[in-house]
Amino acid sequence: MKIAIASGKGGTGKTTIATSLALSLANVTPAPLFLDCDVEAPNAHLFLRPTFERRQKVGILIPRVDESKCTYCGKCAQVCQYHAIAVLGKKVLVFAQLCHGCGSCALICPDRAINEVPGVMGVLEAGTARAGIAFARGVLNIGEPMAVPVIRQLKKWITPAPNQSVILDAPPGTSCPVVESVRGADFLLLVTEPTPFGLHDLRLAAQIARELKIPAGVIVNRDGTGDARTDDFCAAEHLPILLRVPFDRALAEGIARGQALVDVRPEYGAWFRQIVAQIANREVVR
């Protein structure tokens, strides 16, 4: 079973929940596979402390123009939806950072003047983490604007074993990288805080779940702060609230030291296992 953790708003506790969920499931065989999909700022390693054993560069294929064959007809520039290639008189410029690697320019070129060459955007890393958790993450190169290809390849890189749970820690926000991270998940855990900002983004994240037809439930973190509007929204949307984590100084101190939620409060382990059992038995229905 694949469980994705998303939030909309950043800093609500996605990684706090995702890492402890993985640790709670680590006593079963096989231990879960954890994918840190927040490739712009991966941080799950701080709590799961993997030793990386494999590393692979990833990216997309970008066009390289052979100007000795090019007739400057401009068809490549016309077909490109992202304006990543421009024909300017007798010059062709490729803007690699705008390229999505679709290959249309190479396909349409009547002079076969375009070859596709690998453009490296980041790296994938995999290894074994605490409690035998299989851990993998993507790291986008600094300055690289597009996270989606790295996330897509991270998800393809490792095939989970039969019966192995997969925990996907999504990036914040509700844009393409989040959609790419949660796509194909069996369940979406939405971590929120009961503040106006948390609720604003929870609404957007809940729309992603609806749009992608992924069953979803909510974990309210820093419970006791904010107001009742998050509860009202969840009730109106039939989004089950699966867990409430109170605003707790001891938790914050533990996390600041690199401890997981279940290290500070071991009783959460049983609650996480219960949530996963409910999801597996389809007892959680929106």
Partner: protein, 119 residues
Amino acid sequence: MKILITTVAPNLESEVDPRFGRGAYFLIVDPNTLEWHAHPNPGVNASGGAGIQAAQFVVEQKVDAVISGDFGPNAFDALNAANIAMYLFGATRTVREAIARFNAGELERVGAAAPQRRV
């Protein structure tokens, strides 16, 4: 000679638009006769690459120079590759004023052919 100016409205009395790739209109003007025609910017709502799309349009229109508020790095590279002169309208407010200052040689030129700007 033809110059292209990014403008807010499609006429000579318009204010200049400081954004090159996202400017509302492209006004193509003959600076001597003040004859002009206006094109709505097709890339004004592009999700990305608006500056490159605008530069591609500029090259297709065979203009000699472009006047705008500033040029992003991609648009700058594209216009530079096509040897199109880039000018900044600075404190100028209207199109008519920008052309007068262009004719008087008062607009700052940027790009390979321009003197290096001190940062």
